[in-house]
Symmetry: C2
Subunit: 436 residues, 2 copies
């Protein structure tokens, strides 16, 4: 009986804490919403000036940022974070300079807000066009890297949006210090500081609370591991721009140029391992597989890439490991590569459709008809011909900056830049026109 | 005890029925998904041919369609549907011809699928552009009007999408007959008939089942009353393109031309009453209100429009009814108009922000500075200057056809035409390019 009462009290307390977190997050979002109105109406110069002031403030406060980061690093080391995570968490003077540079680069980009597209006369005599407008309030949920705090705040500000930031608990001191600089800079530049709100509690209930604020938050952008993104999708009542796995393929067609094929397949795997646009499976047309593998297998070996092949691959190279069914859907993010020999283009596209994640897929071929089919028929956010999958990136595509890569089809697909953070409304200009 | 067992049995039966509906809807969506692949790869000419065959088939089967419709009309009359609903439900030879004409009009529109935008060289040497691709499978949920069956099927086919249609139970025989014609036409034209699937059960559980098929259905488009749309939003695990209320405003600025203001304010209210882009509230700057109302009040009266005004309006026209708080947010869809006198542009925009639904709002002014502010700052899917709100329409905007009007900000806003039913993927063309 006493135990039951005790449990009841604890339930009650847990409930009260959750309530508090929910109302805290809601009040942050409400303040961001108010700021979003002012921001949507702000002039280009005011937002650009604020970005420049932000960059200066981060540099001027470099020491404070490093001190705050040291607290996170100590806690992370004590808490057993591995070296890779600690490296992500670390703020160095160079990384602080990179954050500042990122903000300054945004100044130079054209302002998307208010840009009018395709204004044209209609037979009725009215002029009709579309004007880009901010989405309103962005909810940004991310892990580990504290630079995302500055990057996301900058992109949202440039595109006229307010943002509610929710970083990882392991970076809480770094994020708090960066957000303080940014809010101070907004104030100094004469814009509402509430345009950038940081959720300062590390309570996980804050994430669920944030993603349920339909009507206050316009879109959620999660960046992090699959676990985080799936939890967000599950709980969300607000639309989510998803960034799911990159199970990316390069298909070497039998009409490929071997030199190009070798360069692309090697670059796509080894240029960087831990990125979503790295190749995870290499598909080879059977007619070209012996020649292509003869060049590539030794190079991958020399680079320390573990190879896992299908039975046909292992017939050619007995020392290649065995790929099983799970390898075809694996996003290794590591020096591991799955190899599969297929009959032809049709079989390659069927493999990609079945096992791919719709992120980035490449064909290497000199045949125009096959290139045309692959580009049209492969349903991925980026489809490349005779180029490395590593090009699937907002900077390489000329977006100037990138807040993530969308694997969704609606609204925005692939790298998300400033345009992905805006909406288009219709504008109509008449001179007393009415419908007859 | 017997009662409890009885209840248990009924629960079990209800559960079994729901299970059956769920698996039925899932199997329809799976078939649509398979067809969507073929459709995405189909040639423009094949889809256009199918549209023409569909039109011919509907005309050739006119008698059968009318007979099926007569069954719905009889059931509707017996079930007590009111005259307005019965009129919506009715299929006449003229309405069947209009359906066929709508399908033929789609043939003439440019094919959005595969269209490439902005292909340009980047400093790295790669060419980058965006290609329009179908969304995949559209779930269309609608009420009463059987012509939506043909309209939606045509728009989805033209844009390379498969569609699962779920019409109102009152139109089940009409919808079934129309869908049978369409599927026959697809077969005749050599395209997969499963590109158009109709949910033939009238069980309401089918709607919930359809909107939860994340992964099988790419987007849900509901068209109908607020109740239907809210239920869909509540249950959905698939993204929804919402079409919510049109609480549309015309604001007559004190720098308006009185002739234009009179024409626009009269047309926006009286051109048609039951449409979402009809004006529901007229805002007048106080300096122009006496002159504008002196012209407009008698004209509205003569047209049979009931007027409900704020206190300042009633000071000028004592015979105008009283508008209370609820009137400012009302979507009358009827010959009723709310009138409010405001101090200036600022007050008008504040009213629209507070009470509007973000659908369509109009300013009448000759002042460029005020026009510029209204167009930029009013956050609605359509914002008009010196033109009637009735222009907010896919045909008037040149989309050629329209499947609905989105009040969402993400993906598509305002009238949804073929482009709104597509996504853009990135395409990259290189010649052996790798990242350095």
């Amino acid at each position: 009986m006493e135990a039951m009462q005790q449990a009841g009290v604890e339930d009650h307390r847990a409930h009260a804490v959750t309530e508090t977190v929910e109302s805290l997050v809601k009040s942050l979002a409400l303040r961001a919403r108010m700021a979003a109105r002012a921001l949507a109406r702000s002039e280009t110069a005011a937002r650009n000036h604020a970005l420049a002031v932000m960059a200066n403030t981060l540099l001027a406060r470099s020491r404070e940022l490093e001190a705050a980061n040291a607290r996170d690093m100590d806690a992370g080391a004590a808490g057993g974070l591995d070296d890779a995570l600690l490296d992500r968490l670390l703020l160095t003077p160079a990384r602080i300079e990179a954050m500042a540079r990122g903000l300054r680069d945004l100044v130079a980009l054209p302002d998307p807000v208010g840009a009018i597209d395709g204004l044209a006369y209609r037979p009725s005599g009215i002029q009709v066009g579309r004007m880009r407008v901010p989405l309103g309030v962005i909810g940004m949920i991310y892990e580990s890297r504290p630079n995302v705090t500055a990057d996301a705040a900058g992109l949202c500000l440039k595109s006229g949006n307010a943002v509610v930031l929710r970083g990882g608990s392991e970076a809480i001191h770094s994020n708090t210090a960066i957000a303080a600089c940014i809010r101070e800079a907004l104030r100094d530049a004469g814009l509402p500081e509430d345009a950038v709100m940081l959720v300062e509690t590390t309570d996980r209930a804050a994430v669920s609370a944030l993603v349920q604020l339909a009507g206050l938050v316009d879109v959620i952008i999660p960046r992090g591991g699959r676990g985080l993104i799936e939890r967000v999708i599950h709980d969300a009542r607000v639309p989510v721009i998803r960034h799911l796995d990159g199970v990316c393929h390069v298909y070497i067609d039998d009409r490929a140029d071997l030199d190009k094929a070798e360069a692309i397949a090697f670059n796509a795997k080894t240029h960087r391992y831990g990125v979503c646009n790295a190749m995870e499976t290499l598909l080879l047309a059977s007619a070209i597989a012996p020649a292509a593998l003869a060049r590539l297998v030794p190079r991958y070996r020399a680079a320390g890439v573990e190879l896992r092949g299908c039975a046909r691959t292992r017939d050619l190279h007995a020392d290649v490991g065995v790929a099983d069914e799970a390898d075809w859907s694996a996003e290794y993010l590591a020096p591991i590569l799955a190899l599969r020999i297929v009959d032809d283009l049709e079989a390659a596209m069927a493999h990609i459709e079945r096992y791919g994640s719709g992120h980035t897929d490449v064909i290497v071929t000199e045949d125009i008809g096959r290139a045309r089919r692959f580009l049209r028929e492969v349903d991925s956010s980026s489809v490349l011909l005779n180029a490395s999958s590593r090009f699937a990136d907002g900077f390489e595509y000329g977006l100037g900056a990138e807040i993530g890569i969308s694997t969704d089809k609606l609204h925005v697909r692939g790298p998300v830049g400033l345009e992905g953070l805006t909406s288009s409304k219709w504008i109509v200009i008449g001179d007393g026109h009415v419908r007859g």
